[in-house]
């Protein structure tokens, strides 16, 4: 296999793993909780920002990557308890309120950033040579981490009692409440988990680009479409949706320019959603 083919296949997998990583948090908040969280992109941004600040003040991007889910998760927790919980019965209101939150976060980051794009170096910036193709190690790390993380969460949700409680709360809150579990805090922690995952994703991927205020916002639509394609109601759907968007997009980009391929894939996704609005893995309400 020629090096450019190896690199091409690698790029497809890399782009897919990045989108899946970004979508993990959305899978929980939008997919499972059904909250149309328009500020999900800003959670990613905050995570990236944490990595950058950690690099600036502590000299370590790795520390930032570990801190990001904690910081953003906590932020998500506070947000849920103050704003989000008011809109569970009002998806339209949720969309607008979270959009407003996203706007505020984005513009605040914009004002705080002296230079409009800041570089965050990867913890491992070297590359490995496979078959003549030079592959950045950090992208490989992301692929592995994404796979492990997705599997771990799926296992936790399916096999552990915590996972059971989360799924039960989202399915039938009244019954769960009458079992003595605080649904209020289940929602709060679940939302926080979704935020933490987004923050983690942001910190992981920012070394591949630069930190700039629209970092999350620009990925928002593809992320939403991935989730809608996959189907709301469970965790696996959005992951599959992300793969379904990223793989054709990545393959197409090898032949036509990346912008056109993304547009094509999005158009197909929109049409597909019209005829199968529940997504690929149809489930529930």
């Amino acid at each position: 296999m020629s090096p450019s083919v190896i690199r091409g296949i690698f790029d497809v997998f890399s782009l897919t793993s990045i989108l899946v990583l970004l979508v993990l948090g959305m899978a929980i908040i939008v997919g499972m909780m059904k909250v149309f969280n328009m500020c999900q992109g800003e959670f990613v941004l905050l995570g990236a920002g944490t990595a950058y600040l950690s690099y600036q003040y502590f000299g370590s991007v790795l520390l930032g990557i570990l801190l990001a889910p904690v910081v953003v998760g906590f932020f998500g927790l506070v947000l849920e308890r103050t704003v989000i919980h008011r809109f569970y019965a009002n998806p339209q209101g949720a969309l607008l309120a979270t959009f407003a939150i996203g706007l505020v976060i984005r513009e605040t980051v914009q004002t705080r950033m002296a230079a409009q794009s800041s570089l965050v170096p990867a913890p491992i910036s070297s590359s490995v040579n496979i078959g003549g193709a030079v592959l950045p190690i950090w992208r490989i790390v992301i692929m592995i981490v994404t796979l492990v993380l997705a599997l771990t969460i799926a296992l936790v949700l399916l096999k552990t009692s915590v996972g059971l409680k989360i799924r039960a709360t989202l399915d039938n809150p009244e019954l769960v409440a009458s079992s003595g579990i605080s649904t209020k805090w289940m929602y709060a922690w679940t939302y926080a988990l979704g935020a933490a995952l987004a923050g983690f994703a942001g910190a992981m991927i920012v070394p591949l680009q630069t930190l700039y205020p629209n970092l999350g916002y620009e990925n928002l639509i593809p992320m939403f479409i991935a989730v809608m394609i996959g189907g709301l109601g469970q965790f696996a759907g959005p992951i599959a949706g992300a793969a379904l968007i990223a793989i054709p997009g990545g393959v197409l980009s090898q032949f036509i320019n990346p912008v056109s391929s993304q547009i094509l894939v999005l158009c197909f996704a929109i049409v597909f959603m019209r005829f199968r609005p529940m997504g690929i893995f149809q489930r529930g309400r």
């Binding site: 607008l96 407003a100 513009e107 809608m228 056109s260 929109i270």
Partner: protein, 322 residues
């Protein structure tokens, strides 16, 4: 004559009476700014008709706005078609075609969820902006600069006052047409569809047809507004197609009060006026304030700022909107 029409006519009369104040200042920049408010006013009308009156959550209306703007701008600059009437007609046809395609896609056949509509229209706006940004034929990131002034019967309309009145005139006409629709039987029907799609269908209304008609009408309004924008500003860029303008339009409607008809226009006027002043000082700070205002509105005044007057009444008589 119904109340809405009375207020509409009052507004239409008030502006020409008050406008000499504006013209006397000799401040072209401000005249242009108010002209822009009228143009955005048409866009706001289109979202209010589509969402506020018919319940179609169109989150991507800027796509039609920009579409009309690009069409008119391209024709004026590259094909030398500058006659105002012709350009507006082109924008109208463009709006009809684009609107029909998307309306048929969304509303014919099975019902789709309101949020799906929002997401799809948002995605369309996003895709259009990306497309315009990368397509060199329409100037890619540059957009289309240097669009010539429109002409009427061959005479070039270059004075800002003339453009002001053209924009105002079209806004007034659009507003009156919208009021006529809402105050008619059709208006009752579209409100019925907004309030409860299923029930409206049970009553025998052709939900699908109503949604399609209003969607196309809104698309046409937005398209014409866009054409006017590119002709009076002399310039159109991908941002006129994309998320920021789409969400601004939704913002104005939400803050003004969805369904109140005049609320969104008031919100637009107030916000844009402040925006013009803030541009000089701290544009980012203003955006943050607007975001916070939207958030506060969603939490405390979900019906928009206009509902400050209705706080007591709503709980008792009206059912809350879905």
């Amino acid at each position: 004559m119904k109340r809405r029409m009375r207020i509409g006519i009052a507004v239409v009369c008030a502006v020409p009476i008050l406008s000499p104040l504006l013209f006397l200042s000799g401040n072209d920049y401000l005249i242009q700014a108010v002209t822009r408010i009228f143009i955005y006013g048409i866009l706001v009308l289109s979202v209010e008709m589509c969402w506020g009156q018919t319940g179609i959550f169109t989150f991507g209306q800027a796509a039609f706005f920009g579409f009309g703007g690009y069409f008119a701008g391209y024709m004026a600059k590259n094909e030398n078609i500058t006659d105002l009437g012709v350009l507006l007609l082109i924008a109208l046809v463009a709006g009809v075609i684009a609107g029909t395609l998307i309306a048929l896609f969304l509303f014919s056949g099975k019902r789709v969820g309101e949020l799906y509509v929002a997401l799809v229209t948002l995605a369309i706006s996003y895709v259009c902006e990306k497309l315009a940004n990368s397509w060199t034929f329409v100037g890619s990131g540059n957009g289309i600069p240097g669009i010539p002034f429109p002409t009427i019967f061959g005479k070039e309309i270059s004075s800002s006052i003339a453009l002001f009145f053209i924009a105002f005139g079209l806004f007034a006409v659009s507003m009156i047409i919208c009021i006529l629709i809402i105050d008619s039987q059709l208006g009752l029907a579209i409100n019925a569809v907004r309030d409860d799609e299923e029930r409206a269908e049970f009553f025998g209304y052709n939900r699908s047809l109503i949604q399609i008609i209003i969607f196309i009408f809104s698309a046409v309004l937005a398209s014409i507004a866009g054409a006017l924008f590119s002709l009076s500003e002399g310039f159109i860029s991908p941002s006129s197609l994309g998320l920021s303008l789409s969400t601004s339009a939704v913002l104005w409607v939400v803050l003004g009060g969805r369904g109140t008809f005049f609320g969104p226009m008031i919100a637009l006027t107030v916000l844009e006026s402040v925006n013009i002043e803030m541009q000089k000082v701290l544009p980012s700070l203003w955006q943050i304030l607007v975001g916070l205002l939207l958030l506060a509105t969603m939490i405390f005044l979900p019906k928009g700022l206009m509902s400050l007057s209705e706080k007591n009444w709503f709980g008792k008589l009206r059912r809350a909107h879905r």
